[in-house]
Symmetry: C2
Subunit: 257 residues, 2 copies
Amino acid sequence: MPDWNQIAICGVGLIGGSIGMAQLGAIDCGTTDPETGVAMAELIVVATPVELIVDRVRELRRFARADALITDAGSTKRAIVDGLDAADSDDRRFVGSHPLAGGHRSGVEASDGDLFVGRRTILTPTERTPPAALDRLCQFWQSLGSITCEMSAAEHDAVVAGVSHVPHLIAAVLAGTTPADCLTWAASGWADSTRIAAGDPDLWREIVRQNADEIDRALDRFGDGFETLRRSIRERDWNRLTELLIEGKRRRDALGS
Amino acid sequence: MPDWNQIAICGVGLIGGSIGMAQLGAIDCGTTDPETGVAMAELIVVATPVELIVDRVRELRRFARADALITDAGSTKRAIVDGLDAADSDDRRFVGSHPLAGGHRSGVEASDGDLFVGRRTILTPTERTPPAALDRLCQFWQSLGSITCEMSAAEHDAVVAGVSHVPHLIAAVLAGTTPADCLTWAASGWADSTRIAAGDPDLWREIVRQNADEIDRALDRFGDGFETLRRSIRERDWNRLTELLIEGKRRRDALGS
């Protein structure tokens, strides 16, 4: 593991706070002045809401060491990686990251030094990312207990649209369309399937805004399945319904608990 | 609490097994002969899949004591209560029950003597249910740690369509329409929102079949919300999306974790 003398975390919510707790001892002071905050840092992690990341990275790069490594923790990648590539084409210090951790919790008070243990972090290097920078970034996330992997920003956005963004939106619709006077009778099934709907609406609107095209495609797939469901029930086509239930169980069982 | 000398449980899956474990000591032998099984029982609990309950109650009533109390544990109530009322109008020994416990687990191997503790059980008496029978049944479920409440079978079916049956179906569609090659990246959000899709497809098909009308109505509500979601994303109407996310969070937060 590289010997990080100084890591700067910009944005201390759930992710930033959890990195701080996992690195406790190494990270020991705070500042609201960006220049002071990043001047000596070898690694800068921008863990703000997604819509602020591009501007924040651009700002911090002005004060960062020439050999600093800069990453983020945003739930979208294409808008961020493209935004930084286009704006500053000869600066290769930024490499995108997305730790798949968090879910319905938010805020520094939910921080947990073990948040990343056993969870995957997707890194999204571009063709121009120096291999050494990618290696160092992998080692950073691995030092927090995370399992790292790499894909393009576009591939990342398509994948997380399906496994994270659409489930969030469906949970919100499911929770929001359950009549309030029935909630007394909601048990563990309803609680599980709507849990992520408790996430911060402002954070999630911006995630959806940045990944709207991929989310639209993933919602097409869900919409087709929903139409099949509706038709099977309206037409009392119990064989079709059984197939749908079996397919859902097959995919769910593949994941484990 | 009444002094039950003998309770007969017909159908030993998750619910029947869990009642047995909670009542351990009182229940100590098994038989496949219905006459032997229920002849002395003061309480008979039919905990089979829903489509078998009406026939099983009719069969067991022939062998049951004149003062026996008979109940079930089915996830639907109208088809069962109506079926037993119509068939045998002067027999008032049956009172419907639905313990809101279980979810994605099934089978006797998942049994748990604490399964009902703190969970609600809905009882569905009819106008002709003797008050003393209802009292005794309440006391039975309360002795397992459950919180009892009463409503009509029709009201029950409308409520559980919204808080249990539709969430199950949506979880199945969500799981089934997630591309298999994305499942590697599924994290706790996807796991939570699809957990109930692991339920038994045959059990669930029969539940849906018995409550198809109410489920159709609840799916209309979900479908309206889903259409609003799709339109807000296609039209980039972020205010509308924010309202939808806020409404989902409000309902979810009302329940707690």
